[in-house]
């Protein structure tokens, strides 16, 4: 990797203040994303991937707060910037799209206006110019007849169309980083593929880096060059996306990959039960000592129950947080 990374997160800790005591909802989060790179963050619900994204854009709200660590965006530490400076970054240089295209658009405002507002807000355009740019933006996300569609209200559009509009809004100002939080969970599988393809192409054209957050390992590995797997508030493994499927190092990742249903596996292997990871995700207030995966791990030994594993570099590239990695 050459040059300064676009965004660099070092040892980020996110605190959850539940009145009586503070617990770390996520800790030791470190990763970097280069310009134009695609990076995936994978994990189960509640593992801390979405709050990590919120921390990046400075939108953690009570009871969550940044408890420590550094977030460096384009060489500048942004975790202590003033609210106004953070607002200038949001939408302009860091944009985000959500999993719910149904609710993420204002129902009483035409979609064209919502796109145009981005140009007015961040680029200081007049409404006339902004409206023209909105038509172009809508055309760029391949919405048919954009000059008519700009006047449509969100309820007149299908889910896929709405997500296209969301992408148009998010990419309106050609941001450096697009955070996509489960961008396709609410969509049909066929539409999913289209949207992902569209997002990738547009970001590649603009040189926009993508941070994709999902619980869908297959989807993320497909889109992203590198993938980080989160478990119970820690990144347990970070690898190139091809490697993570071929040779997962962390027992949790191994379990995840093994539990993916494979098309045609039944014909090849006969009727066999889908692999699963035994046990459940620990609650945020009662994370186990040592490695947080130890109660569910088949290879767990005494050291796993007492000592927190460090992130070790792998020979093949990547990081893993396990005492017993290969």
């Amino acid at each position: 990797m050459t040059g300064a990374p676009l965004i660099e997160v070092q040892d980020l800790r996110i605190d959850l203040d539940n009145g009586s005591r503070r617990v770390a909802a996520a800790e030791g989060i470190s990763f970097r994303i280069d310009r134009g790179e695609t990076f995936g963050l994978v994990g189960e619900s509640g593992c801390g991937k979405s709050i990590t994204a919120l921390a990046l854009i400075g939108l953690l709200r009570q009871p969550l707060s940044i408890g420590g660590g550094v977030i460096r965006f384009d060489g500048q530490e942004i975790q202590h910037l003033s609210a106004a400076r953070q607002r200038d970054l949001r939408g302009n240089r860091i944009a985000m799209i959500f999993q719910e295209p149904m609710t993420a658009l204002n129902p009483v405002s035409p979609v064209g206006r919502q796109i145009a507002e981005m140009f007015v807000l961040h680029k200081g355009k007049s409404w006339r110019e902004a409206n023209k740019l909105a038509v172009e933006a809508l055309a760029s996300v391949r919405v048919p007849a954009p000059e008519r569609r700009v006047n449509d209200y969100p309820h007149q559009l299908s889910g896929g169309m709405r997500q296209r509009v969301m992408i148009a809004i998010a990419l309106a100002c050609s941001p450096d980083l697009l955070i996509a939080d489960e961008p396709t969970t609410a969509l049909d599988v066929t539409v999913q593929a289209e949207i992902i393809e569209l997002m990738r192409n547009l970001c590649a054209e603009r040189g926009t880096a993508i941070l994709m957050i999902s619980h869908d390992l297959g989807l993320v590995a497909n889109v992203c060059r590198r993938v980080a797997v989160m478990y119970a508030g820690r990144i347990v493994e970070e690898r190139g996306s091809a490697d993570i499927f071929r040779a997962p190092s962390h027992p949790y990742t191994q379990g995840l990959v093994a539990s993916l249903p494979r098309l045609g596996s039944r014909a090849a292997l006969g009727r066999s039960r889908l692999k699963e990871i035994a046990g459940v995700v620990p609650a945020i207030t009662s994370f186990p000592e040592g490695c947080r995966f130890n109660p569910r791990c088949a290879n767990a030994t005494d050291i796993c129950r007492t000592v927190v594993p460090m992130a070790d570099a792998l020979e093949a590239g990547g990081l893993v947080r396990c005492h017993h990695h290969a």
């Binding site: 607002r87 949001r90 944009a95 149904m102 658009l105 204002n106 009483v108």
Partner: protein, 273 residues
């Protein structure tokens, strides 16, 4: 779609009242103030004097027509002031929460605890009678309902996806309130505003009845009622017609408010689709 009788009747009555007020100089038969003629005093309604005349021989019809101007000005302007105050306070309180919410809540509770007419009376007593002080007095005393509604809407709207999306896209607080929250709560605000106009018309009548409204001899429906109360047995038309005008205007506004609620309420809207 079902014909909405309340909306149509209410809208028609309100439109009629506004039309009468605007076109008063052309509709009136005589000047409401100057054309007093004691020779025509206390004529009952008939072909010459449609609504009869008062004890100074002034045409009641012309005075009712001109009176619409005062009543509607007070109704519309004072309710606009109320809506602006109520929305500004309620919206910001609901969106920001925290100490500001507590302050606004306390203020709203105080306003709700004091009968608004008494409060308006007190303000009028300080400012003195007249149209401007009437507008100020009524405009400052009836915003608590609007404020409550705006606050409740802001509270529920601020967790909506599009409001959070706007935050993520770098919208400032003020821009979020104006472009995201306000348009989405406009329905109930407009309904409350229309109903509030009706009660402002009534309050104007009450204050004018008490002699604190528009200065005589210029007519307002309330002051006409007040003047007519001595002759209510001998010349009932003096009180019937301004009373009828108040009644129809307020009825129109209330029907309009109900009708608007029917079409603007998201729940009834989703029931239709």
């Amino acid at each position: 779609m079902k014909l909405r009788a309340n909306l149509i009747i209410g809208g028609a009555l309100f439109a009629l009242a506004i039309l009468v007020g605007v076109l008063a100089p052309w509709l009136a038969h005589t000047d409401p103030v100057l054309d007093a003629n004691l020779l025509n005093a206390e004529e009952p309604p008939g072909w010459t004097w449609w609504f009869g005349t008062d004890d100074q021989g002034r045409d009641i019809y012309s005075r009712v027509v001109y009176g619409a101007r005062v009543s509607l000005t007070v109704g519309i302007v004072s309710q606009l002031i109320n809506s602006v105050i109520g929305v500004a306070l309620g919206l910001s309180a609901g969106y920001w929460g925290g100490w500001w919410d507590d302050v606004v809540n306390a203020l709203t509770n105080v306003m709700l605890a004091i009968p608004s007419l008494i409060f308006a009376l007190a303000i009028m007593a300080v400012l003195g009678p007249g149209l401007t002080s009437l507008l100020i007095a009524l405009g400052l005393t009836n915003w608590s309902f609007t404020c409550r509604i705006a606050r409740a809407s802001a509270l529920s709207l601020r967790s909506q996806g599009y409001v959070q999306a706007a935050t993520v896209l770098g919208y400032g607080d003020l821009r979020i309130m104006i472009t995201q929250l306000l348009p989405n709560m406009l329905g109930p605000i407009v309904v409350i505003g229309t109903l509030g106009m009706g009660s402002a018309v009534l309050s104007e009548a009450a204050l004018s009845f008490l002699g604190l409204g528009v200065r005589p001899p210029f007519p307002s429906w309330g002051s006409m009622l007040s003047d007519a109360r001595d002759q209510i047995t001998t010349a009932p038309w003096l009180s019937v017609f301004p009373g009828l005008a108040i009644f129809l205007t307020v009825l129109g506004l209330n029907l309009l408010g109900d009708g608007l609620r029917d079409i603007l309420d998201p729940q009834s809207r989703s029931r239709r689709t």
